[in-house]
Structure formats: structure tokens, C-alpha cells
Symmetry: C2
Subunit: 633 residues, 2 copies
């Protein structure tokens, strides 16, 4: 009995501990959403994440070096920027493919503030990183992450495809063995590549092209079906498992293989046939507060001390534009890869903390990188923890591995990136769009073309603007169904039914001209505006209705509202001081229409007053006219 009780108690305690553990876990999840990935994290997951993390790491290393140079900083700053995001995003983010780090666009924007000499470059870049993070946190607090909803699928596709083309062309130089950095500008990159075609290096080009072919073939490998060819189940599992590992780890394999080739070739020959990544400086960054003051050289070569305020004034609008572009880019990526289930606010917090924490590790501004996210996805990442492996690799590279990375041929890395992004160009969406909703091709096309011609941020903004303009157009030009009907007593009337659920300021003139046209076509008759579908109404629309009612009354065509919401009546009464004749159903309509003669007479008694004022050219003040604005023409 006692044992049973104790047992019972034990069970209770056990349950309690379980519950406590669960609530602790819940709290932990809330604070660090990334912890949930650890729950049920299998060895297979770890292997997949490791492969993906290392592949991304092998991509981010040369990219980091290149982007830091593009930003006007020493190469190691690119690597400093590449490891914080991975760890922070693994803890806070929710989309497994997103990899946060330096990108070409942000590097380009940072470069505007790093050319003042005397080591002020890193100070400006790191401060900009901190400020971007703070601004992004502000956007998260204000729930501005919901702005993501404004990016439609055609715009996402246009943006993705354009980014793919830009990244692809930016890798052409590496593939062809042309020297010189390549920015994020499509047109200049193409011009530079085409102008230097005679300088193409055979070694690099051969290696790059071979790598691409090998990568594409290995990618096809996963489609190979083994069903029935191997009878032994164990062997079949082993073979298909190996195929999966090879197909998934193809990027790492190609990089490793080409590096070994480059090492053996270049050690034997005196002149190396391939352009290699080159030496990476060893050592971890300073973990310290960003500098809030710095010294720059002015044009005459004199040193000038810049305090915090002067630094802020130098950064100027970049403090707002850079984080907005970072968020837009990141959001488009997580939308493209993560589907619809993501919390935009959470993504924003993850991005913001990556920048804020990054600023304490000498990072330049970071955001999600489309190319690396694509590589990450293609390498079969399973959780955001993959980013941790990338971070570890980058830290190892900084501390220990640096000497070994120098043998990676640039052409191989370009091949990896090109064969990843080539599939991001989406033609498939054009066909269904053309079939069912052609006007939606426009925002997509604008995003694509303008992203290539002017820049991805402008392209994205123009695409979204096109979509928004269409929304406004719909509200401004509602479909009106017009019909001439007759009551059972033979009184003709014109029924106007707006098909839109709101009647707001931009639509008033449209409805007004629609009614005029209807009267011209069908002849003078009472007009009934069916508001059954109209749930929303505003002051401008109410004033317009008031003016319309007076005009129509003058033309012997009284205006009635049918099935109008109470709120519409209130707004009409308050804004025009007219008691609109409203009806609830066609029966009332008939009753009121029979009294039309009286009604028109009643209106005409009060109408001439307004009329005479307008014709008379009174000496009234403009207020009165603009008050009349809504009441009479």
C-alpha cells in the first residue's frame, strides 16, 4: 500500500517534472525559437546540415572576401561578417534555407562611406551595421514585417529571376578567368565581360565548364530510379543512400576535387593555369563595441576627427535605405524558399539581431543572400542549424584553415554558383499567368526588367508599386452594372449597382459619370443606387453623392439609395445635411417612386438658392465655394 502510494507520488513527481520541463521548453522556444530544431535532431539531419553548411561555407568564403573588397574594406571583414549571421539566425530564424551574411548589394551601398582613409572605413561600415540592426528592430516592433504581404507572386518571381541573372553574370568573370572584381550591376558586368572576351583563359574556362557539366549531371543523379534493378534490399538502400550523398554534396565534391587538381597542377608547373582564391588572413576579429568616433583624411590630406554626430550625418539616408533594402531582400528570399508559413516579424528580429550582434564582431551590414540560400537549399539543408556549421567553418578558416583555401580555383566556385542560380530563373510561371491573368505579367515583367536595368531594389519597388497602383485603380474604377427596370406599376427607373465593396474618394467621379452616361442612354428616369455590396464609404464620397443628388434632382431624376448600411446613412447625413431617401427593398422603391412628382417639387424649392449663387458670381469667400464643392457643380 505504502509502496503503491510512493509509486503514485513518484509518478506524480515525474509528471510534474515533465510538465515543468515542457513549460520550460516552451519558454525557451519563445525566447530562442531556434531551440526547437534541436528537438528530435537526428544524426541524418546533422549530416545533411553539415554537408549544406560546409558547402555554403565554401561559397561564403570567396564571396565574403570579394564583397569586403567591393565595400572598400580589407578582405577579412567579409569573413567577420559571415559567421555571426549563421549562429544568430539558427537561434532566432524560421526558414531553413536562409543564410545571412555579406551581399553584393549591401557591400556596394556600404562602399559609399568607406573611402575616407585612416582606417575610418571599418568604423563606418560597422556603425552602419549596428544602425541597420536597430532600424530593423524598430520595423519589427512596429509590425512593419506585414509589408511582405505587398509582394505578390509575380513580383517575387521577377525579383528571383533577375537576381539569378545578375548573380550568374557576376560569376562569368570567374568562370572565364577574367581578372577584376564584378559588382552587382548587370549591364556593366556584361559590358566588361563582352569587352574582355579575348582575354579568356583556357584553363579556367575548361575547368569551369567541366565543373558545371559535372554539377548538372550529379544533380540529375538523384532522379535515377533503382526500383527492381538491385534485388538485395540492404544493397539497394546503400546504393540509393550513396547516390543521395553524392548528389547532395556535389558542390563540396566539385570544390574539393578541383582544389586537389589545382594544388597538384600548380605545385608542378611554375605558372598556374587557374586563378586561385588566394591567401586568406588568419585571426579572429575584435569582439568590441563599434567605434562611435573616427578620424578621416580630408581632400587636402589633413586629419579630421569625426564625432558620433558627424558620422551619422555622413551616413545620412543610408541609415534608412540600407536596412529597408536588406529587409526587402531577406523577405523576398524567405518568401521564395520558406513558403507562406513564416512570421515576417520573427524573420525581421532574426535579421536585426544578426546585424546588431554582428556590429560587435566587426561585421559590415548583412542580410539574407539569395545565391547562398540557393546553394544551401540545393545542398539539402534541413534546419537553420546548418548556418552554425557554416559559421564554424568560417571561424576555422579565419583561425586555422586559411592556408588550405587558397587552392580553390575561382572558376570552380563560379561554376557552383552558376549551376545553383540557373534554376532560379522561372519561366514556368509565365504560361499559367498568360492563360488566366495576363495583367499580372506586368508587375512581374517590370520587376525583372528594371532589376536588370537599374538595380534589384528599384526593380522590386517598381514591381510592388505597379501592384499597388492596380489595387488603387480597382478601388477608383469599380465595375458598375447598369440596368433599366420597371416597377409593377410601370414606372421606369435606372438601377446602378457598383460591384466593389467600397465607395471611396477616387471612385466618386467615376460613379457620377457612369450615372450621367446611363441617363443619356436610357433617358431621364429616377436613379436607384444599389448599395447592398457597398460596405465602406467615406466623407469625399458622401459629399460627391450629395452633389450628385442635387444635380439629378435638377434634371428631374431623383436619386435613391437601396439597401444602404446604417453607417453610410450616418456619413451622408453628417457630411451633406441631406436626408437621403433610402429604401430597403424594391417594394419600398415602388412606393417612393410613385411619390416622385411631389419629391422632385420639394427638391426644386430648395435647389434654386444654390443655383442662383453660382450663376450670380457672389462675393462669397472661397470657403463657401469649397463647401459647395461637394454639393453642387
Amino acid at each position: 500500500m505504502e509502496r503503491a502510494l510512493q509509486n503514485d507520488n513518484n509518478i506524480k513527481t515525474f509528471v510534474q517534472i515533465q510538465i515543468e520541463a515542457m513549460s520550460l521548453r516552451k519558454w525557451g522556444y519563445r525566447l530562442l525559437p531556434g531551440l526547437k530544431w534541436l528537438h528530435g535532431y537526428t544524426g541524418q539531419d546533422a549530416v545533411a546540415d553539415l554537408i549544406a553548411g560546409v558547402t555554403v561555407g565554401l561559397t561564403v568564403l570567396p564571396q565574403g572576401l570579394a564583397y569586403a573588397t567591393l565595400a572598400g574594406l580589407e578582405p577579412q571583414y567579409g569573413l567577420y561578417s559571415a559567421f555571426v549571421g549563421g549562429i544568430i539566425y539558427a537561434m532566432l530564424g524560421s526558414c531553413r534555407q536562409v543564410t545571412i551574411g555579406p551581399t553584393a548589394l549591401l557591400a556596394l551601398m556600404t562602399s559609399r562611406h568607406t573611402g575616407f582613409g585612416l582606417g575610418s572605413g571599418p568604423a563606418y561600415a560597422i556603425l552602419l551595421c549596428l544602425i541597420s540592426g536597430v532600424v530593423e528592430l524598430g520595423m519589427a516592433v512596429l509590425k512593419l514585417g506585414a509589408l511582405v504581404d505587398l509582394i505578390s507572386l509575380p513580383v517575387t518571381v521577377g525579383f528571383t529571376s533577375a537576381t539569378a541573372v545578375i548573380i550568374g553574370t557576376s560569376q562569368l568573370k570567374g568562370l572565364l578567368g577574367l581578372r577584376g572584381g564584378s559588382g552587382s550591376d548587370f549591364i556593366n558586368t556584361m559590358r566588361s565581360v563582352l569587352g574582355n572576351l579575348h582575354k579568356v583563359r583556357t584553363g579556367d574556362f575548361t575547368l569551369g565548364l567541366t565543373s558545371i557539366i559535372v554539377l548538372l549531371l550529379l544533380r540529375k543523379l538523384k532522379d535515377v530510379k533503382l526500383d527492381g534493378r538491385i534485388r538485395n534490399l540492404r544493397t539497394q538502400q546503400l546504393v540509393s543512400g550513396s547516390i543521395w550523398v553524392i548528389a547532395t554534396g556535389r558542390n563540396a565534391l566539385v570544390v574539393l576535387g578541383t582544389s586537389v587538381l589545382a594544388y597538384s597542377t600548380c605545385e608542378q608547373m611554375k605558372s598556374c593555369p587557374f586563378i586561385l582564391t588566394g591567401k586568406v588572413k588568419s585571426g579572429l576579429p575584435n569582439f568590441s563595441l563599434p567605434k562611435f568616433e573616427t578620424t578621416i583624411l580630408d581632400r587636402n590630406g589633413t586629419e579630421i576627427r569625426q564625432n558620433f554626430e558627424q558620422m551619422l550625418s555622413e551616413l545620412g539616408p543610408s541609415m534608412l535605405i540600407l536596412p529597408i533594402i536588406a529587409v526587402l531582400g531577406n523577405v523576398a528570399i524567405s518568401k521564395a524558399f520558406g513558403g507562406a508559413g513564416l512570421s515576417p516579424t520573427r524573420e525581421l528580429v532574426a535579421l536585426s539581431m544578426s546585424n546588431i550582434c554582428g556590429a560587435f564582431c566587426s561585421s559590415m551590414p548583412v542580410t539574407g543572400s539569395f545565391s547562398r540560400s540557393a546553394v544551401n537549399h540545393a545542398s539539402g539543408v534541413r534546419t537553420p542549424l546548418g548556418g552554425c556549421y557554416t559559421s564554424v567553418l568560417v571561424l576555422l578558416a579565419l583561425g586555422l584553415l586559411a592556408p588550405y583555401f587558397q587552392y580553390i580555383p575561382k572558376a570552380a566556385l563560379s561554376a557552383v554558383i552558376i549551376s545553383a542560380v540557373i534554376f532560379m530563373i522561372e519561366f514556368e510561371v509565365i504560361k499559367p499567368l498568360w492563360r488566366c491573368s495576363r495583367r499580372e505579367l506586368l508587375p512581374g515583367a517590370i520587376t525583372f526588367v528594371m532589376s536588370l536595368a537599374v538595380g534589384v531594389e528599384i526593380g522590386l519597388l517598381l514591381g510592388v508599386s505597379t501592384d499597388v497602383a492596380f489595387l488603387v485603380y480597382r478601388a477608383a474604377r469599380p465595375v458598375l452594372s447598369v440596368s433599366k427596370l420597371q416597377t409593377s406599376n410601370g414606372i421606369n427607373y435606372i438601377l446602378i449597382r457598383p460591384k466593389h465593396s467600397s465607395l471611396y474618394f477616387p471612385a466618386v467621379e467615376w460613379v457620377r459619370s457612369g450615372i450621367s452616361k446611363a441617363l443619356t442612354i436610357h433617358g431621364t428616369a429616377p436613379v436607384v443606387l444599389d448599395c447592398a455590396n457597398v460596405h465602406e464609404f467615406d466623407f469625399t464620397a458622401a459629399r460627391g453623392m450629395g452633389s450628385l443628388q442635387k444635380e439629378l434632382a435638377k434634371a428631374n431624376a431623383p436619386l435613391f439609395l437601396m439597401s444602404a448600411d446604417k453607417t453610410i446613412g450616418v456619413i451622408l447625413k453628417e457630411s451633406t445635411n441631406i436626408d437621403f431617401p433610402t429604401i430597403d427593398c424594391p417594394d419600398d422603391l415602388e412606393f417612393l417612386l410613385e411619390q416622385t412628382a411631389d419629391y422632385v417639387l420639394h427638391l426644386q424649392i430648395s435647389a434654386p438658392l444654390v443655383e442662383s449663387r453660382l450663376v450670380h458670381g457672389d462675393g462669397g469667400e472661397p470657403t463657401e465655394l469649397s463647401k459647395l464643392n461637394g454639393k453642387s457643380s
Copy 2:
């Protein structure tokens, strides 16, 4: 008999001539809409227009001189800009109050390009005038005049009131006898006035204040009722006629009276107690082609020849921003004064031609002036022909009257403007807005405050943006009515009814989360989305619906569409490749719901394929994922 025939023929010919005359007139009206004002133009109209035209002329003369100086040009260019618009607008325009000419804002914008010395200022200003006209014509051709519909009543009121305050404060200097020009910037003007209060000149201030009091009293005069006090009908007509003339011509009267006073005082005393307008240079402008090349002085004082291309590059974005602001301002004026019956395109053509023709008469860029339009209105203008009288007065002033205008005290002119614009500040609209539609106070308040703080063009744009943001918000966050219902056979289902007429990309996530919440509250049950009110749909929404359907099927809560348009079905089919179970009425619903068990089973057979790919972390390319994007989370 023969006579009768001839008579008949005569009548026929007469009728024919009449018809021909009518069709000729119609053609004339179409080409020059202003001609219609001449039809039935009475002597009374002419007197009213003359009084208004002269009053506006007396306002535009000092304003023109001041604005030309503000633009960095010699004073007479302000008068050159003041006469073309009046004539062109009388022929092409449709709003009697609008007076086109130089304005403070455009002068300020022009001034950016006139500081290069060697007479290049007028060349740049005139070229900018021509280009503005051409851009405005382009807007008219592209029917961009309909953009006017985007300016809601609260924004118009906010803009009008802010302009009134800015104009009023800009006249304070003249009223107080403070020297120095006043720009269009509210804050700087106020700071300058308050900082110079000790310099206020008694003479000017007394004259100005008296003028304002007299003007306001004369304005009240028209409200005086004579009914019954004078028995003789003829005398009563005469007295009320005189009252009308005095009340309407009060501006001209006050200017004339104060000028005579100033003349007699200043001729007697040695130091004049009033600041006068000062001498106006005589002579008409050159009627010639704008110059397409000019010479400027660079910083080192060397002369540099600028060709057409270099001039265009110097003007840069002003070539687009200036006409847009001109149009926005003009449109707001014609909306405030002209009511709803105006054709925006016609107003645009009138403005465009005023600028194009102006450029051939050495004019700087012109647009409708709010202050002068207010004076015009307050002076009782009856037709746009009033502008012709203004033009004649300006030409006379340039040619002959110049010496006589120098005695007009500036304080009197300031008084005229202040007592005109003081009534443009509209508080009356706040009360009904507060009562019936408080959220509309926001765009109005933003327009007003930002117009004062930053500038009228920014204020207007921000106000319109607030309104547009609200329209987009409405489309993105439709009201969803959720109810749990039961079929007659006792099957529970959840009915979701969006109250908006469209389901576009920004709303998909919202509907999705609304359905999730409904399922959490009401428990798992089939979901019926009632699309009876939804007439518009897009690709992104369709993909979102497809993804939602799959999610819900997994959660054993199948999704049905009720009363959906055919077009919605087509878009869904094309974009998701799913045959959505749609029903036309609740009866069908019951039938289908009874088959739910089968249906869910059917869905689960096809679902795991997608599911397994996502969990497996396949080596697929991102295209596939972003294609899945709309299909599964």
C-alpha cells in the same frame, strides 16, 4: 403661291444657316472651349469680370515682381509671366476662378537654375517653362489628369488651409512694414517676422490693419438686408446694386484709396511713412523662340558655352518634378473652386499651353496661384475671361501704367491678400469628420502639418499617400465574418465570408490566418469560403488558396468554395492544378459534406508526395520549392 414658296425657301436657307452656324460654333467650342463664355456674355458679366480682373491684376503686379526676384530674375520677368496664362486659360480653361501665373513655389524651384551669371538665368527659366509645358501636355495625352481623383476632400482641405496659412504669413512682412523678401517657407518666414518685431513700422502697420478692417467690413456689407426699409423699388435696386459693387470691388477700392493717400502723403513729406511697390520697368518682352544655348560663368570666372544637352543635364530632375508640382497645385485649386464638374484633362491642356506659349514670351514656369484665385473669386469673377482683363492690365502696366503703380503701399496689398486667404482656412470640415469618419482626419492633418513644416508639395504627396495606404490596407485586411453552422443532417461546418469584393495578393495571408483562428476556436470542421461577394481574384491569391486547401486537407478540414465566379475557378485551376470542390448553394454543400470522408481520403493519397519532399530535404532546385511555395507550407 410663289411668294409662299420663296418664303419657305427663305426659311429653309435661314434654318440651314442656323444649323451651319451651330455646327461651326460646336467646332469652335471644341477647339477653343473658352469661346462658349462669349455666348450670352452680358454687360453685367463684363463689369464683374473687369472688376475681378483688375483686382487680380493689382495683386499679380507686386507678386510678379517679388516672385521674379525670388526666382533670381529681373523683376519684369514676373510680369512677362503674368499675362500669357490669363489669355490662354480664358480660351482653353474651364474654371472661372483659376488664374495662371508665377507662384512662390515654382519661383523657388526655378531659382535653383538661374545663378550661373551672364544672362543665363532667363534662358534657363524660359527653357524650364517650355519643358514643363511639354511634360504637362504629355500628362494630358496619357490621361494622367485622372490622378486628381486620388486627392480626397480632407487632403484638399488640409492643402488649402496650409496654403492659406503660408500665404498669410508671407504677407505679414508687408503688413508690418518689414523689409526683405519672403519665400514660401512657413517656418523661416515666421522666424524672420518674430525676430524683427522691433523693426515694425507704425505707418505701414496702421495702414495695413485699417485696410484689413475696412476690407472685412465691406465684405460684411453684402449681407445687409434692405427688405422693406426703402419703399421705392427703383431706389432699392439702385442701393442694393451699389452695395454689391462696393462689396465686390472692395479690393480695388482699398488699393486705389491707399495709393492716393500714399501719393498725397509722400509728395508732402520728405520721408514716406509707407513702403511702396516701387518703380516697374516699362516695355513688352521679346516674343521669340526660347534659347537652346547659353553662356555661363564657372567658379573661376571663365565663360563656358552651354549647348542644349548641357542645359538639359543642368535642369535634370526639375524637368519632371516642377511640372508635376505645378499640375498637383493647379488641380487642387480647380478642385477647391471649380467643384466636381471639371475635366482634368482639359485643365491640364490649358496649363500646358500656358507654359508652352509663355516660353515664347519670356515667361518663367507658371501654374494656378491659390492666393490670386482666391482674390479672383472674392472679387466676383464670372468667367475665365476675367483673366484677359488681368493680362491687359499687366500689359498696360508694362507699357504705360508702370509709373502709376509705384505708389501702391505694400501693406495695402498684403491686407488684400490676407483678408482673402483668411477664409480659406477651413475648420468647419473637422466637426462632421470627427462625428462620422475620424480616420479621415489623419490624411487631412498630415497634409496640413507637413505642408507647413516641410512644404506644400511634400504635404500633398504625404496626404495622398496616407489615403492610398488606407485603400491598400482595406484590400489587404478584408473584414471576415466567421460563423459555425450546421447542415440539416447535423454536420458542423465553418462559414467564412470575406466582406471585400476582391481577394488579391496582400489578403491571402490574412484569410489564411483567419481560417486558422476559426479552426482553433470552433474546432476542426469542414471550411466553406463564401465567395458570393468576391468578384476579383489573382494568381497569388489562387496559389495561396491551393496551399491552404492542402494544409486544411491534412488537418482533416476540407476547404470548399461557395458561389464562386467562373473566373475564380479558372484562375484556381490554371495556377494550382487542383480541381477545387465548389458549390453553388448550401444544398450542394450538404451533399458534398456528407461525402467528406471519401474526399479527405482522396486528398491524402496525393498529399504525402509533397509532404515527403519537404521533410526529406531533397536536392531539388529552388524553382521547385518556389513553385511549391503556393501549394504547401
